[in-house]
């Protein structure tokens, strides 16, 4: 359980205390941000167990590197960057161990997203929040990790194209086409789910 004195302190004060070795201050930071860090890991990995492990590994790394945190960004942002890097490493390792997915073959074989019909009716209009989340969850699972990661970095991490290119070690052109494909595919998948409803 975290120290009661810490619950009223802001993140910056907790970081300073944790940098001096106060583990209860760090625990309070974990309590505050653990859902966000876990959510990021889950969105990228699509696996609950892996998301828990990687988010915990991120917290351990966060503690080890805490002295390097100078407050250039918020603590939450700094931690999400750590978990994103860990997830990217894990996904790359996984990719090396499996064959290419159909998604990647599609992408390589000539940009199917260009021929996809435009989804004219908003497929998520009128959905309850929980239903919307469920559908997006299912649709995200059907994207390759590269497409999903670009989407996560852009939509949730609010990174610019240039930052994504650096994070993923690819060109801005690749980021743009992956993002475009991911969005169009997601729209098509959400439209399919809506059709199945009827």
């Amino acid at each position: 359980m975290t120290d009661k004195n810490h619950s009223s302190a802001d993140d910056a004060a907790l970081v300073r205390a944790a940098q001096r070795g106060d583990m209860t201050a760090f625990e309070e930071l974990v309590v505050r941000h653990r859902d966000k860090i876990y959510a990021r890991a889950y969105t990228m990995m699509r696996n609950e167990e892996e998301a828990i492990d990687l988010s915990q590994e991120a917290w351990v790394k966060g503690w080890q590197r805490l002295k390097q945190f100078q407050g250039e960004s918020s603590f939450g942002t700094w931690m999400t960057r750590i978990v994103i890097n860990l997830c990217l490493d894990a996904l790359r390792k996984q990719k090396r161990q499996r064959t290419e997915s159909i998604e990647e073959i599609n992408e390589e074989s000539g940009g199917v997203e260009r021929q996809m019909p435009i989804v004219t009716v908003n497929p998520t209009a009128g959905l309850e929040r929980s239903e919307l989340r469920q559908r997006i969850d299912r649709a995200l699972s059907q994207l390759s990790y590269e497409h999903r990661t670009v989407l996560v970095l852009h939509e949730f991490e609010e990174m610019e194209y240039k930052q994504i290119a650096k994070t993923m070690n690819c060109s801005i052109g690749t980021v743009m086409s992956r993002l475009f494909y991911a969005r169009r595919k997601l729209a098509a998948l959400l439209a399919d789910l809506k059709k199945q409803d009827k």
């Binding site: 994070t167 070690n169 690819c170 060109s171």
Partner: protein, 154 residues
């Protein structure tokens, strides 16, 4: 009386320093450090089109896997070893188009400059103790990459 005791302690230290510290420092100073630089090509192809390229050692492969790099195969294009005394610098040709200039700054620090087609591209100063590696890299055509790995080997 106490003051005399402190002064005597200081004098004793001073004597020890005069006798030991200077020569000890001279003796402790290593003659030269040995470095190794490798030029590596990263690709997703399992074979290099150049038969002279050998896959990197498992140790290097393992360390590259720890870094946020996307390639699955790495081939050694060239490897150079060289010794540098403190404050000595050397320019090392890694390929026709890639040179590095390494300067041993002493105290485990190095200054590394990378030249591409004769032009200086980047200069970096950092500690490079034994066991650490510095990797300089960039994208190459057809979704491949070039890497220069520098490490201290002695």
């Amino acid at each position: 009386m106490r003051r005399y005791v402190i002064s005597a302690t200081c004098l004793a230290w001073l004597a020890i320093i005069a006798l030991l510290f200077g020569p000890a420092r001279v003796l402790a100073q290593p003659a030269a450090s040995k470095f190794e630089a490798q030029l590596i090509w990263g690709t997703n192809d399992s074979k290099s089109p150049d038969p002279r390229h050998k896959p990197v050692t498992p140790e290097i492969l393992e360390r590259l896997k720890e870094l946020p790099l996307k390639w699955s195969h790495y081939f050694e294009v060239n490897r150079r070893q060289f010794a540098l005394a403190t404050n000595e610098g050397k320019r090392i040709e890694m390929s026709d188009k890639c040179d590095i200039e390494v300067k041993n700054l002493g105290n485990s620090n190095v200054e590394v400059a990378l030249f591409g087609k004769g032009e200086k591209v980047v200069k970096r100063t950092q500690p490079l103790p034994s066991g650490e590696i510095l990797v300089l890299g960039g994208n190459a055509p057809n979704a491949t990459a070039w890497l220069v790995i520098l490490k201290r080997i002695k």
